[in-house]
C-alpha cells in the first residue's frame, strides 16, 4: 500500500529524519518509535546515516547493534538471524515450565542457535532460579557462533557454543532438544510474504529450509536419547511431518503464538516432565 502524501507531510513537520523511516515501517506510529530509539541509542552524528540505512530496509537491529530478548539485550550483527518476539515468547514458556517443574540437572541441546538467544535466556534464568543444568548450543555458521560467543561473554553464561553441522553431529546424551531451524521453503522465501528487510539483509542459511531439518532434528532427538523437544516452525505440514516420524511412545502437539499463528511442535515421552503440557493442540 502506498503511503499517502498527507502522512509524509505530517512526518516532515515533526522531523526531517522521519519521512525516510516511513518506507520500511509503513506507519507514522512505528516510524516515530524507531526514530526515538535511534536518537536514544546512537550519538547525534550517527542519526542521519542510520536513517538512510533504515530507508534502504536494513534491519533496525543491525543498525542499533542489539535486540532485546527477555531481560537481555543481545548483540545482533549482519550474518546472524535477529531473534523474533515469537521465539522469545515460547522460550519464556519453556523456561517457566522448567522452573515450575524444578527440572534439576537437565541437559539441553539447542540446534541452529544463531545469536544464542534461546540457550542464553534459559541459562541466565535457570541460574537465577538455582536450578543446576548444562546447555550446549550449535550452529553451522562460524559467524553465528562468533556472535553467540560475544553474547555469552556479555552475560557471562555457562553455555557451551560449538560450530557444528546438525546433520553430522556426534550423539551425546541430552534430555531436551530445542531448535529454531530455517523453516521457510524456497518458493515462499521468494514471495512477498517475506519482508524486504529479511530477504535482503538476514542470512539465507538461517531462513530457507523445510522438512529436511525436522527429519534431522527427530533423528538427533533419538540419537541423544532425549525425552522432550520443542521446535519452532511455520507450517502445519512441518508439524505433521514430525508427528509421522516419531514412534508411538511420543506425545506430540502444537503451540500457537499470541498472534494466533502456528509456531511450535512439541514432543515428549517423559511422564513426569512433559513439555506437551504447553500445547494448544495435541495431535
Amino acid at each position: 500500500m502506498r503511503i499517502s502524501p498527507k502522512t509524509i507531510r505530517e512526518a516532515r513537520q515533526i522531523s526531517r529524519l522521519l519521512p525516510p523511516l516511513l518506507r520500511p515501517t509503513r506507519s507514522l506510529e512505528v516510524a516515530t518509535q524507531e526514530l526515538s530509539w535511534i536518537k536514544r541509542e546512537l550519538p547525534k552524528s550517527a542519526w542521519k546515516n542510520a536513517v538512510l540505512q533504515r530507508m534502504n530496509h536494513t534491519p533496525l537491529q543491525y543498525i542499533l547493534g542489539t535486540q532485546p530478548f527477555g531481560d537481555m539485550d543481545l548483540i545482533t550483527k549482519p550474518g546472524v538471524l535477529i531473534p523474533r518476539w515469537e521465539t522469545e515468547e515460547w522460550a519464556v514458556k519453556v523456561l517457566d515450565f522448567l522452573i515450575s517443574n524444578s527440572a534439576n540437572n537437565i541437559r539441553i541441546l539447542d540446534a541452529c542457535t544463531g545469536t544464542g538467544c534461546i540457550p542464553l535466556l534459559l541459562n541466565s534464568q535457570l541460574q537465577k532460579a538455582g536450578i543446576p543444568h548444562t546447555i550446549k548450543a550449535i550452529d553451522i555458521s562460524p559467524r553465528a557462533i562468533e556472535i553467540a560467543n560475544e553474547n555469552s561473554t556479555k552475560y557471562s553464561s555457562t553455555v557451551e557454543f560449538e560450530q557444528q553441522n546438525l546433520f553430522t553431529l556426534k550423539p551425546e546424551p541430552f534430555d531436551l532438544v530445542t531448535s529454531n531451524p530455517p523453516y521457510i521453503p524456497m518458493k515462499d522465501y521468494l514471495s512477498t510474504e517475506v519482508e524486504k528487510s529479511v530477504r535482503r539483509y538476514e542470512p539465507k542459511e538461517a531462513l530457507i529450509g523445510d522438512l529436511e531439518f525436522y527429519t534431522q532434528l527427530v533423528h538427533t532427538v533419538d540419537d541423544c536419547d532425549a525425552d522432550n523437544f520443542i521446535f519452532e516452525l511455520g507450517y502445519q505440514t512441518q508439524a505433521e511431518h514430525v508427528k509421522r516420524l516419531v514412534s508411538s511412545e511420543w506425545t506430540v502437539g502444537t503451540l500457537n503464538d499470541s498472534a494466533g499463528n502456528l509456531r511450535c511442535v512439541i514432543g515428549s515421552k517423559n511422564m513426569e516432565l512433559n513439555l506437551t503440557s504447553l500445547c494448544n493442540t495435541i495431535m
Binding site: 535486540q67 531481560d71 523474533r84 530455517p182 517475506v194 529479511v198 499470541s258 499463528n261
Partner: protein, 164 residues
C-alpha cells in the same frame, strides 16, 4: 439531611488548624510508595499488539512490541510501547496500571496525586517567590515616589506660606 449537615459542620469545626496547610510541599523522600501491590496477575488480561495480521515468525522482523493490559475488575485498559523490549514494556504497563488503580482507590492520597500536587506546588511557590520579589521592588519604588511627592508638596506649602 440533618445528619449530613451535622457531619459537614463537624468536619468544618474539626478541620486541621494549621493555617498554611495547602502550602506544605510534600517532601521528595516522603512520597507514598509505588503502588505495585495493587497489581494482581490474575486480574489482568495481557495482550501483545503486533499490528496487522500475517505469517510472522522468521518471515517478518518486527521492531516494536506494544503491550496492552486490561484490568478485568475495573475495565481499565493501558498500553506501553516506549521500549524495544517487550519485557520492559510489560513492566511499564503494570506501573501505569498500578498508578491508575491507586488514584481510583486513594484519590488525593495516591502517589500520582501527591506527585502532581508536589509539582504544582513547587511551581506555585516559585511563582510566589518571584511575585514577592517584584512586589517588594515595586513597593520600594512606590514609597520613593510618595516620599518625593511629599517633599514637593511640603516645598509648595512652604512657598505658599511665604517661608523658606
Amino acid at each position: 439531611m440533618m445528619g449530613i449537615r451535622t457531619s459537614g459542620l463537624c468536619r468544618y469545626l474539626l478541620r486541621p488548624q494549621v493555617p498554611c496547610r495547602e502550602y506544605v510541599i510534600p517532601k521528595k523522600t516522603k512520597l507514598p510508595p509505588r503502588p505495585k501491590w495493587l497489581i494482581k496477575e490474575e486480574d489482568i488480561e495481557e495482550s501483545f499488539i503486533k499490528g496487522g495480521s500475517g505469517p510472522g515468525g522468521q518471515k517478518i522482523n518486527k521492531t516494536n512490541s506494544k503491550v496492552q493490559l486490561k484490568h478485568i475488575p475495573t475495565g481499565i485498559v493501558v498500553t506501553s510501547q516506549h521500549s524495544r523490549s517487550q519485557e520492559q514494556n510489560r513492566q511499564k504497563a503494570r506501573e501505569i496500571l498500578a498508578e491508575k488503580l491507586d488514584l481510583m482507590e486513594n484519590g488525593p492520597k495516591s502517589r500520582v496525586a501527591v506527585v502532581t500536587e508536589r509539582k504544582v506546588k513547587l511551581k506555585q511557590s516559585k511563582q510566589k517567590k518571584s511575585h514577592r520579589k517584584y512586589r517588594k521592588i515595586e513597593e520600594g519604588r512606590a514609597k520613593e515616589k510618595e516620599f518625593e511627592e511629599l517633599v514637593n508638596i511640603e516645598d509648595e506649602i512652604d512657598q505658599m506660606t511665604g517661608r523658606g
